[in-house]
Amino acid sequence: MKKTLLSIITAITLLAAPAFAASTEKLYIVNSGSTNGTFNAILSAYATDLKTMYDVEYVQAKGCSKASAILKKIKGAKAFYISQGIQAAALPTCSKDVFQPTPDKIIASDIKFGMIFGPTGSDVSKLTKGNIKIAYNSNVNEKWLNSLDQSLEVKNTHVKYKNSTAVVLAVLNGEVDLGFVNSTKKVWKQKEKLVGLLSLNPEGDNGVPPLSGVTKFNGAEKGQVDNFFVQGFSESELVKFRKTIANLHKTDSTVGSWYKNALGYINTAVWDREDAIKASVNYVDMWRD
């Protein structure tokens, strides 16, 4: 009896020991996107993996105003957060310092190239002939589509939707002729019913030719970034944290698996730090007026 009791106490002690031994530091993960968007999905995956290393507190803070207010509140504590580069460049509420890619806080970025797509069987001539309906989301894309029309010397009707899911759905149900999305993940998911026509990636994207091969204008080769930042990290802590993030991308972690299943994202966590910073800055600056 005594032996059994001793074994149980030893087992409990051994199991509990790591919890007390490792001083788990607090890490706030701040989602500046909506709860049902891609940002939330990515950060949730990070939270799952980082929970083993940090005392993670996940904070939902939709929009730049709320996110920056929360980051201000927790200044001094460690925080990991995400922001859309295009908004940091073009949206007044997102122009605050906390969302600008600077070496002291940038960890990595997801580089994405927009794509014009249509239902299976459609081709580029649809776009170049004009007089069609193109679905899009966000104000920035509206400006971009106007520039594209000017460059192709055509007139198209641009139909605004809430998000890329709605844009894909509008093309699928035939409400519009073509769609334009910043992130191609949802288009690739429907690759049996949809076809990529032109990519903003100068090298093309999974067999989809570059837009710059059809028309040249300031915007034909525009990539976008979603930036991952930290707050409250010293230089050495930032370097160490970046390594942790890179390792998650190299393994079958929750984050690693998420990216493996999401076509159309180039994550810079595994890049050389200087190159990653340069890419973040360039792709944000590209969208400044």
């Binding site: 709860t35 949730s44 207010a69 104000n139």
Partner: protein, 443 residues
Amino acid sequence: MIDLIPYTLIGVGFGVIAGFIPGIGIFATLMILYPWLLDFTGLQLIAFYIGIASTTQYIGSVTATVFAVPGESSSLPSVIEGHALYKKGQGGFAISGAAIGSFVGSFIVLGIVSLFVPSLENLYYFYSTHIQASIILMVLGLLILASSKKIIACILAFFGYILGTVGCRDIDEKCFATFDNDDLTTGLPFISVILALYIFPIVINNWNIKLPTDSKFEIETRNIGLHLKKYWQNIGASLRGTLVGFVTGFTPGLSTTMSSNMSYALEKWVQRRKKSYQVGNYAALISAETGNNAGSFAALLPLIVLGIPIVPSEALLYELASAKGFILGGENFNADFFSTVAYLLVITNFIALAIAWPFAKHICYISKLNYKVLQSIILFVLVGVVAYVGSQFWQSFYYLVVFVALLPIGILFRKYDMLPAIFAFLVATRIDVVIISLTSLHS
């Protein structure tokens, strides 16, 4: 799929509680459990919801039959016919008939829908902006028409819409009524709004419910053969209820209320024509109860196929699942997903039948509860839930302020149907998005 069964079983457990306690219902139960549900994954939430939604339909009719208090508005026929049968000493037949009818109704509907699953997968192709606009308008219209005070319902719907537009919207990054306040940019928290305008007034309205304590709680449930024979003699009523319940279950905003009451009205008419109707009619009761469960499944279809919640509890489920990155409907609907839902529905129906029928006699213990104390506890817990959910967004104070600010309005209008306001609040952003898309489509 097997890993989801525990969540369905937990849902069944809470469905029993929600159905047994008169006046509470699925929505308030989901609200109370909200902080705990935040830890579930999207699929676990759906498994849980199937358990709670189906079981409440079974158990609610037991409570209605014995105490003549409707747990949900869909239990009204049970209050009229079931309770009359109960007073005649036929409570056992009323409860077994309702349970068997519910079981049969669910299985027939599930079987029919299963045949059309391959076509359902393509249904979202038809979910155009025009269809979305029509559905939203139809739901709002029906909710207003169903209200006894239509002008007040219109005003409340507009009020709900205005509340729903507060904040910054994604589609064009425009902000409304934010007054440079960071919290307001995120919009009004739906949990605070719904609790203040909908749940609290319901609980307050039910404050004076008195459960009969002098009734004889004698429910004969042992002779299964006799109960099955009685049901078989009235199976026509049950089948009619299935058909009517399924079709009317799609009625947005009303769903099972419409299903059970329409099936009931039809069967009452049939029985009157046969000159066999008098209060305490078994056929009318089982028709309503079968229709109720058939409708409960029909209501689930627009949600899982198109991602359109048509009753408030589904809107809550949709919100919760979305927060976990699981978007219901559209491209996420496929045959595998439907099989999972069907499989969980089958399990739930077997368990709910097993619980509702033989254990009905234990319902007498509810009358021993101090109902006012129970309601006070519920109200207290709900306020705690508001603060807790707010804390997840670092907005506890904001959540409580919105709740306190809207509560007087909820109490003031507690005698009116607040569903138009709640629905308009929940779909306000969708309305804006649809208007913007339609405007550019036709420009």
